[in-house]
């Protein structure tokens, strides 16, 4: 099954926000269903344009790699997302596509997040 990163669509103004917030960043609306706050969830697009990136060599202590690449991507539809890059020679403005993969492990726990590849790779 293909995994997705979810955006949160406001039931009043239709703004899709990522990451999740208690109030809608578009209009300030909060919708309660009596128990919880509700949004319509929508899968974020996976294609986009690389806005900026870095190769990080001073890694958090639980990473075993020598370095990781991180970037901010402007997704189709306008949302932005921070993710890991698996791109040999990234360039600002290049087209990329994302896959949801395990991005971090802490003992038995796995974290899933967006990993971007060069379009056509």
């Amino acid at each position: 099954m293909e995994r997705d990163i979810l955006g949160y669509k406001c039931r009043k103004c239709g703004h899709v926000q990522y990451p999740y917030r208690t109030r809608c960043r578009g209009c300030g609306h909060v919708e309660w269903n009596g128990v919880d706050i509700v949004y319509d969830t929508v899968p974020l697009p996976k294609n986009g344009k690389l806005l900026t990136f870095t190769h990080l060599y001073a890694l958090p202590s639980d990473f075993e790699a020598v370095n990781i690449s991180l970037g901010i991507v402007e997704l189709e539809g306008g949302n932005r997302i921070t993710g890991q890059l698996k791109i040999k020679d990234p360039k600002i403005g290049m087209k990329v596509f994302g896959k949801v993969e395990v991005v971090r492990r802490e003992e038995y726990k796995k974290y899933w997040g967006m990993v971007f590849y060069a379009e056509g790779a």
């Binding site: 806005l51 990080l56 001073a58 958090p60 901010i72 997302i81």
Partner: protein
């Protein structure tokens, strides 16, 4: 609101300190009280970010008040990330301006070296967005690296400009006896020579080792007072004339233009407006150069230079001592050091020292208006202060 003055200052060395956190807070507090010629205060705020996690101590302000034998004075710990220090000063300002208290200690302290540098980086990384940033391995240097790359792309800042910030601030720190790093660096040593890549390895490209501040221990304290107490003290009248604060999105990617530090711009404008000053009135400034790029960009957002031109002013030497607007005469976070919770207080300490005319070899001649920018998270919570000499 009543006017508020700084009448006492104290600071520890920012090197590795081998005594407990509460003492790192208490020693400069004693110095500040002695400087103010007071043996008690009405209240104390202690700025700190890591005690609960790094030092496994909570309720720090209560421990510090006990060291100082200031009971039953009220005391609170203030945690606002790397902007905790200026937030403690702001709290002291509000307490005195409101008329609630006449004398307040604003203290900042951090003991980062109780853990190794990996754990210190992990600890500071907890500032990032837990779901949208931290899970990917995002650290503060990586946010700064992405920011720097975009800034270089847009405005033509180069690795050379970044190195110029580091070289200047290291040179300033040579004249600051409390600074963490006291050695001169050169363009040859960190960028041009064959040894440069070894001396100055990549941390989060394009940022290298000498673009990033060290992990420091240290404490700093100010005594703030009402006008009446300040006049009676006989100490120089250094007024805390402006206080500004602004916040921005938690995840950096969410900002409409990720090359803008909007919270810096807004907090600076607020503080200057309150002090009835313009950026051009400022004689000396301490900016939050946790990464070299930040000194350049903050100098633009505050309004010292036009957007995209901070690196050109740096090139012309305008931010050196003797230049148009000397920045980070203390050595900045880069060389003075960055004991996180203490930093905002230490920035104010440098400005008060400058306005008193007591900065010796790093003195900015005739300085009357000073400015500080204390930058929390990656720009999501910023506190700016303006000090004037009367």
């Amino acid at each position: 609101m009543r006017d508020v003055y700084v009448i006492g200052i104290g600071i520890t060395s920012f090197t590795r300190l081998e005594y407990p956190l509460a003492e790192i807070a208490a020693y400069p507090a004693v110095q500040a009280m002695q400087d103010a010629k007071l043996d008690k205060v009405d209240h104390m705020f202690v700025a700190n970010m890591g005690a609960g996690r790094v030092n496994r101590q909570t309720g720090l302000a209560s421990a510090v008040i006990d060291h100082l034998c200031l009971q039953p004075a009220g005391a609170e710990t203030i945690e606002n990330g790397p902007a905790s220090g200026a937030s403690a000063i702001k709290a002291a300002y509000m307490a005195i301006a409101s008329g609630m208290h006449d004398t307040v200690l604003a203290v900042g302290a951090e003991r980062m070296n109780e853990v190794n540098s990996l754990e210190a980086t992990d600890f500071v990384s907890t500032l990032s967005h837990p779901m949208a940033e931290a899970i990917y391995g995002v650290t503060l240097p990586s946010l700064a690296g992405m920011f720097t790359r975009l800034y270089m792309h847009k405005y033509g800042v180069t690795a050379r400009h970044l190195a110029m910030v580091a070289i200047k601030n290291h040179a300033n720190a040579m004249h600051n006896p409390f600074a963490h790093v006291r050695n001169l660096i050169t363009m040859d040593g960190i960028l041009d020579s064959v040894d440069a890549p070894t001396n100055n390895p990549i941390i989060a490209d394009p940022l290298r080792f000498f673009d990033v501040c060290p992990v420091s221990d240290g404490g700093c304290a100010l005594v703030l007072a009402s006008e009446e107490v300040a006049k009676k003290s006989g100490r120089p009248m250094i007024k805390l004339a402006g206080v500004g604060q602004a916040t921005d999105t938690h995840a950096v990617h969410d900002r409409p233009d990720p090359t803008e530090l909007t919270a810096v711009k807004l907090a600076a404008a607020q503080a200057l407006k309150m002090a009835k000053k313009t950026p051009q009135d400022v004689n000396v400034a301490e900016l939050h150069d946790a990464f070299t790029i930040l000194e350049i960009v903050e100098s633009e957002e505050v309004g010292f230079f036009k957007k995209g031109e901070g690196h050109l002013a740096l090139e012309r030497g305008e931010t050196q001592i003797g230049g148009k607007i000397p920045i980070n005469t203390s050595g900045g976070l880069k060389a003075k050091g960055h004991p996180v919770g203490a930093t905002g207080v230490a920035q104010a300490h440098e400005i008060v020292t400058q306005l008193r005319g007591e900065a010796h070899k790093r003195q900015v001649k005739g300085a009357k208006v000073g400015f500080t920018c204390n930058f929390g998270g990656f720009g999501n919570n910023v506190v700016c202060l303006v000090f004037t000499r009367e």
